[in-house]
Symmetry: C2
Subunit: 385 residues, 2 copies
């Protein structure tokens, strides 16, 4: 395995309005994306990697010699890596409403000539998939070898399989869920309330005030972080370790876990946009493709054509293995080809980003088998889903 090396983002402007699930539309927009590897002759080796809450199009490689600029799934994507860029042409795309280059709340609303701020329309997982499909069109990709993602990224992969069944041969859904539980929504809403009630939020127009709702974002991130780690992992990493060996009897830092979370919160509040945080948690809460099928996930997935890989992690209490079981069962009910791996990993939800060899091997062998459908740069006859 070698590093993918230095990469650069690209961008594409779309001047056709995008109608949204809400009934609103985005007049025009830019999507920022990156690609790794080479698109083959018949464009059959493309894999779309969808990102989760705070990630971006920058999936793999670096922007400079600085390892701090490494992409968020660099352990997964690259030459010789589980998703092997010697074989596949991999695309990462920043979602609409995010804050890493694609059109979002910080950009100018053409209707007003001012920054969108809180007026950026609420976008859904399905809206993102529609915008990604346009990017695929523009890149000449009629059918992806796979659409893949973890967590919120897995929801996008699942939505692709429902909205565009003929446009992906494989659907890879990792550490995800067909819908959030009341507890998931509750955590999201506490985070949103922290941001919305921060006086520096200014109703979403904080850009004009030259401030950011740092305190709200910080609390939101601290809280989110707790749900990404398992109780056991937190106990193993931090336990009740004290920063300075004894209780301080004040409200500064006593425990290492406090130090860690506050650091994570502080860091996050310096680079992440508060309006984006609100938008993306709403996309999470709203995702529920079975809603239009009377809550019947089997019916919801009845028109899918892809083969599926699902992976869950035993200690993930955000999107627990039970949520993956629901998807597996619904796919099996439809006689779909499903590979399911439940990885006994201690790291909670974050496990999907980490190097567990069993997990990596599952994904690697899945993509190796999937590549057998592609022969000498061309899709074999009958391999199309």
């Amino acid at each position: 395995m070698t590093s993918i090396g230095i990469v650069a983002p690209q961008s594409m402007f779309f001047d056709t309005p995008l109608p949204l699930q809400s009934g609103a539309q985005i007049t025009d927009y830019t999507l920022v994306y990156e690609t790794y590897g080479t698109l083959n002759a018949d464009h059959s080796n493309a894999v779309l990697v969808c990102h989760a809450l705070n990630a971006s199009h920058h999936v793999a490689g670096t922007y400079s010699e600085d390892a701090g600029t490494t992409g968020w799934w660099d352990n997964m994507v690259g030459p010789g890596k589980p998703l092997d860029t010697n074989k596949y042409f991999v695309i990462g795309v920043n979602n609409l409403g995010s804050c890493f280059g694609s059109t979002g709340p910080m950009h100018i609303n053409p209707a007003t000539g001012k920054q969108y701020g809180a007026h950026f329309p609420v976008v859904t997982v399905e809206d993102w998939v529609q915008s990604q499909a346009r990017l695929a069109d523009a890149l000449g990709i009629k059918q992806f070898a796979a659409v893949m993602g973890g967590s919120l990224g897995g929801m996008q992969a699942l939505a692709w399989s429902i909205l565009f069944p003929e446009r992906l041969r494989h659907c890879v859904v990792i550490a995800s869920t067909p819908k959030l539980t009341a507890q998931n929504i509750a955590f999201d809403d506490v985070a949103r309330q922290a941001i919305l009630t921060d006086p520096d939020y200014h109703g979403g127009d904080f850009y004009a005030h030259g401030v950011v709702p740092k305190n709200g974002l910080r609390v939101a991130r601290m809280l989110g972080h707790i749900t990404y780690l398992s109780d056991d992992d937190m106990a193993a990493k931090f336990g009740r370790e004290l920063r300075s060996g004894s209780y301080q009897f004040g409200f500064g830092i006593d425990f290492e876990i406090e130090s860690y979370l506050r650091y994570q919160g502080d860091k996050f509040s310096t680079y992440f946009d508060a309006n984006t945080y609100l938008l993306i948690t709403k996309a999470l809460d709203y995702f529920d493709p079975a809603k239009d099928f009377g809550g019947d996930l089997t019916k919801t997935l009845s028109n899918t054509l892809a083969k599926f890989l699902l992976v869950s992690f035993t200690t993930d209490w955000r999107f627990s293995p039970e949520r993956s079981h629901e998807m597996v069962q619904a796919l099996v009910n439809n006689n779909r080809t499903v590979t399911y791996a439940e990885i006994d990993a201690p790291h909670g939800h974050d496990a999907f980003l980490l190097d567990d060899q069993r997990y990596m091997n599952v994904v690697r062998s899945y993509f190796e088998r999937a590549y057998e459908e592609i022969d000498g740069g061309s899709l074999k006859a009958g391999a199309s889903a």
Copy 2:
């Protein structure tokens, strides 16, 4: 079972300074308390009920005809109830640093002539027990029939058994833990950070500014509430029910769970003191009696003399049954008499406040047996722990 009827709080002033674990002291203080039932001739039927985070001395009965003034454990304490006030003399006491009458951050610091605010000293579970022991002295109670509490109240009961082994015959520890986990501490710290970074907190001196850090308290309470309920219970009660039948595509209220939590947060922020919230969560975080015994809970409990009743609830993920198992094991290691009930209840941590008949029956029969040690108003020979 009849209601205990209308009750009234009493208060007692202590002019002897109370030395605290932190090394600081409280010069003088008032404890507010309530009593129910009648103290018998040899003062052997007294039960101390310790309260958790946001409760008080008002354990049972009402303050008026208004049922909204009912005490927080009225289902547990009263004539004919599991802790039967026809037999026992029950005392509820508001802890130091709380905001329901006993000396706390809103009161005047005699050293400065101003409200304590953030300068109220950090108090621990053990400090509370010391202050409660002085109240017991003043009421002429040398030995309690039992000290009892749920959650943080259970920690106080446990601390009583360690600090004053001869002063209680029974120790009743419900839905509690011998120490918080890293995840427990993490949730507490997020709540504290929400309060501390609310501009209306004013470094703890918000009283002088005529405001309260409502937004911080609200977020703290919403978050706390999530940890009091089980995932399953939240799913059963709220699921993904929408307030108005369809997505609003904004940041108002979509889901019933959001409405419920925001309501709980709003209500809490109108009556609870922010400095008290900080203090009480610190007391929770600091509680770790085994810390002075090299982390060995068996050693920690080796000097206890009481008999123990422990109760846990299967879906309590705040203080899970495993935490009770640790205490039971350490007590068994010391050949203590332990009754342990693990109640299969869906309601999470809050189950300790609710009417589960199996739970109520366990407590009822425990107190009935304990009362057999008391005969005709006098402790039987040999019954002393």
